[in-house]
């Protein structure tokens, strides 16, 4: 039995090994019914999207933390796909209903965590497809750098509307951007590393027209942020801009031709805010795409 509705976030779980999709659907329906208090109005299952996360095991903990900060803002069905190709063939599931009280009712979203064991890891789209909510946009958050030529990437890109990466998580920069460009005509792409440069881009834009002839920048931040800011300036200004990266965990400053730019107002957004902002966008971002093309 689920705890009472006024207890904040309510969670009810079900775990199964070697499960089928039909079993998952059946258990989800049961959890939805159980999450409502007896004699109370039924809870609302509200979804604005299906959110898939491709989470290699080493990223599992980080992915769960980000989701915890975001689930309430984007009621959705979340599919966490954890590939374990080296294990015996099978599909394990952990299902949870997460409800958030609104007045005397509660709104519930669903989190479906699937361990794709053995051969199942090579056919993720066939597992995700029947679990997508009809008629709503599908986003995929790809943790770590994609295996660019893998069938998993090709399959999942084919069933989603938007691919969200964080190129800060990539080791192979700027070469990875050249591979990302190949996906632009197949799926709308956004990059959390790019999102994290937004307030700095707004600051740099406010320096127009003084910034128009800038020749070199030194970025005190991640390599991804450095390459993306340089690519952005090159593509927008139409001329070459040299880049040097002074590696920091976060973007702490930008020097323009040796002179530090002023610091932008406000505080940097937290991880779930950044992902949340990406989930509010639906179309292609031509400015980002041009920046990525010019970053390589």
């Amino acid at each position: 039995m689920a705890p009472p509705l006024n207890a904040g976030i309510i969670e009810d779980d079900w775990t199964g090994e070697d499960v089928s999709i039909a079993q998952i659907e059946r258990e989800l329906a049961r959890l939805r019914v159980d999450s409502a208090e007896e004699s109370a109005q039924p809870n609302l299952r509200t979804s604005v999207m299906t959110h898939i996360a491709w989470v290699p095991p080493e990223w599992q903990h980080a992915a769960e933390e980000t989701l915890a900060g975001m689930a309430e803002r984007h009621p959705s069905r979340t599919l966490l796909l954890v590939p374990k190709p080296d294990e015996d063939d099978g599909l394990d599931a952990q299902l949870s209903i997460r409800c958030f009280p609104i007045g005397d009712r509660a709104v519930c979203g669903e989190v479906i965590e699937l361990i794709l064991r053995g051969d199942r890891a090579a056919a993720p789209a066939s597992i995700a497809l029947p679990l997508l909510i009809s008629d709503l946009p599908v986003f995929i958050r790809w943790r770590g750098e994609p295996q660019w030529d893998s069938p998993e990437l090709a399959q999942l890109v084919g069933i989603v509307d938007r691919l969200i990466v964080d190129s800060t998580e990539w080791k192979n920069l700027p070469a990875g951007y050249a591979r990302l460009v190949e996906l632009f005509d197949r799926v709308a792409v956004s990059d959390i590393a790019w999102e994290r440069t937004e307030r700095w881009r707004a600051l740099l834009a406010s320096l127009w027209p003084g910034i128009r002839d800038v020749k070199a920048i030194r970025v005190h931040g991640t390599a991804a942020q450095g390459y993306l800011l340089a690519g952005w300036l090159r593509s927008r200004l139409g001329h070459g801009v040299e880049v040097e990266v002074d590696e920091h965990e976060r973007l702490e400053g930008v020097d323009l031709d040796g002179e530090p730019a002023p610091f932008p107002p406000g505080k940097p957004p937290v991880a779930s805010d950044v992902l949340s902002a990406q989930l509010d966008r639906f179309g292609r971002d031509p400015v980002y795409e041009a920046a990525v093309r010019a970053a390589t």
Binding site: T46, V48, V107, E198, P209, Y288
Partner: protein
């Protein structure tokens, strides 16, 4: 090479640049009142939290009571702590309070106006606010006239001016026309922002989204498919110590003349060509012009007597402090209205509003015509064969519900009404902004879409004056409903005569 000023900034493309107003000073007349502490300052604080205010911004409070700058800041800080929707943050508050001043002002006294003008000039120099002014009139109508002339007289050659005028805008058609004439003599219509805070509510704006962003509703949004419309603006509170105002206004001027008629206009209006201020207001005006005055049989007034609200015994209106014990002021109005145009001919809009009703609720219910021939046998369930209702919850529980008939699982064909719900809080988990946040920001930006134009106000008063004229011919038997109920029985009869009833709650 030097860039010319006109050259577009290529770096700005794609950035989600927020609408931020020009540098300006907001002057609040009536800074000692409840509106300032409960609504305006909390709204300004919310805008400051979201960095939507200009960097160069100052607030000047003006009221009759004597107060120092520090005293004003302390009082406003407490108001923010008590009423803001965001947690109190020292840094945000300091940013807002650092350019906050107070001027003691007797609204009929030139000296105070001179002092105000000097404070504004000083603030312009200190904060580079460039002579831009938003004057917010949170004062009784009697004080507005003098202030308008004083402001016009001292108007700076530099910068823009916007006047935000709270309801009530006049107390009848004649006084509203006088006020409009005074405004038009000194300012342009683009400088005048007549506020009706209902238009700032997300759910009221969502009515426009619901109608004009969804292909399925507009084709059936007419007399062919809609049986009638019910609009309820119910408050469970009484007059909250505002006897002086309410005795003069009553429900007809307090709610019907503005909020209620605007809700009717938004429900009934034709699609605007675009979402610009004049296009939207032109369409609302057409609805107001198409509404004919309800006859005496189509209007019910009421006044609450003692009763119980949420289990607590409350006094009747005539027992409220400051109210005439034989008062005939209306605290409830119900009416059957018609919009005489091609879309709505013969489709009644039943409206009701009042104080001390059973609960606080503002809803717009679109009741569709019944299915023409339900093919089910008798006993399929009278409940389930009820007409569909599209219900817009303006407040509370903001959202939209659609009542549909569905088969009860099991043998045979039994039908029950079920609701499909969209709750704002469910799909969009960010807190809804208060109406005043949106409207103050719009006024600073010069966007008049959600403000009422002079001709709309005059049409609204014209309808109200005609109703009040009927009322002056007789003396009502008040009180005629108990506090905590849904109003007088005559309001029920208004619908029963047509074979209809108010929605169940």
């Amino acid at each position: 090479m030097t860039a010319t000023k006109e050259e577009a900034n290529p770096l700005a493309e794609g950035l989600q640049l927020r609408r931020r107003p020009d540098p300006c000073i907001l002057v609040i007349f009536g800074a000692s009142g409840d509106l300032t502490t409960k609504k305006l300052l909390p709204a300004l604080y919310a805008l400051a939290v979201r960095r939507l205010l200009p960097d160069n911004f100052a607030i000047v409070g003006a009221a009759r009571s004597t107060e120092t700058d520090d005293g004003f800041r302390e009082r406003m800080q407490q108001a923010v702590k008590d009423h803001a929707r965001d947690p109190f943050d020292d840094e945000t508050w300091e940013r807002l309070a650092s350019a906050m001043r107070y001027v003691t002002l007797d609204f009929a006294d030139d000296k105070g106006e001179d002092e105000l003008a000097q404070v504004l000039t000083d603030l312009d120099k200190e904060h580079n606010t460039r002579g831009n002014r938003v004057y917010y009139f949170a004062v009784p109508p009697s004080a507005i006239g003098t202030l308008i002339e004083e402001i016009a007289e001292r108007r700076s050659a530099e910068g823009w001016v916007r006047l935000v005028i709270e309801k009530p805008f006049g107390h009848d058609l004649e006084s509203a026309k006088e006020l409009n004439a005074l405004l038009q003599k000194n300012f342009t219509e683009e400088e005048v922002f007549r506020i009706d805070h209902y238009l700032g509510k997300e759910t009221v704006q969502n009515m426009l989204a619901l109608r004009f962003a969804n292909g399925i509703f507009e084709p059936i949004w007419n007399r062919q498919f809609i049986d009638h419309v019910q609009i309820t603006v119910a408050e469970s509170i009484g007059i909250e110590g505002r006897a002086g105002y309410y005795e003069q206004a009553g429900a007809i001027r307090d709610i019907f003349q503005n909020h209620l008629l605007q809700l009717v206009a938004i429900t009934a209006m034709e699609p605007p060509i675009d979402f610009t201020a004049d296009m939207v207001r032109n369409e609302k005006l057409k609805v107001l012009k198409a509404m004919h005055t309800p006859g005496p049989k189509h209007i019910v007034r009421g006044q609450y007597g003692p009763g119980f609200v949420e289990g607590v015994e409350v006094p009747g209106y005539r027992e409220e402090q400051g109210v005439d014990p034989s008062s005939t002021t209306d605290t409830f109005v119900a009416a059957k209205l018609f919009v005489d145009n091609w879309r709505w001919a013969d489709t009644p809009f039943y409206v009701r509003m009042g104080k001390r009703l059973a609960r606080r609720e503002t809803t717009i219910a679109i009741q569709f015509k019944r299915a023409p021939h339900p093919p089910f046998e008798d006993g399929a369930g009278e409940e389930g064969l009820r007409p569909n209702v599209l219900l817009i919850h303006v407040q509370p529980n903001e959202g939209v519900s659609l009542a549909i008939g569905a088969k009860v699982p099991g043998q045979g064909m039994r039908i029950r009404t079920v609701h499909m719900d969209f709750l704002y809080g469910g799909a969009f988990r960010e807190g809804l902004p208060d109406a005043y946040e949106r409207l103050i920001l719009d006024a600073m930006l010069g966007d008049q879409t959600l403000f009422t134009r002079s001709d709309e106000i005059e049409e609204q008063w014209s309808l109200v004056d005609a109703i009040v004229a009927f009322w002056q011919r007789d003396r009502p038997q008040f009180p005629n409903y108990a506090a905590g109920t849904w109003g007088p029985t005559a309001a029920d009869e208004l619908l029963h005569r047509d074979g209809r009833s108010w929605r169940r709650h």
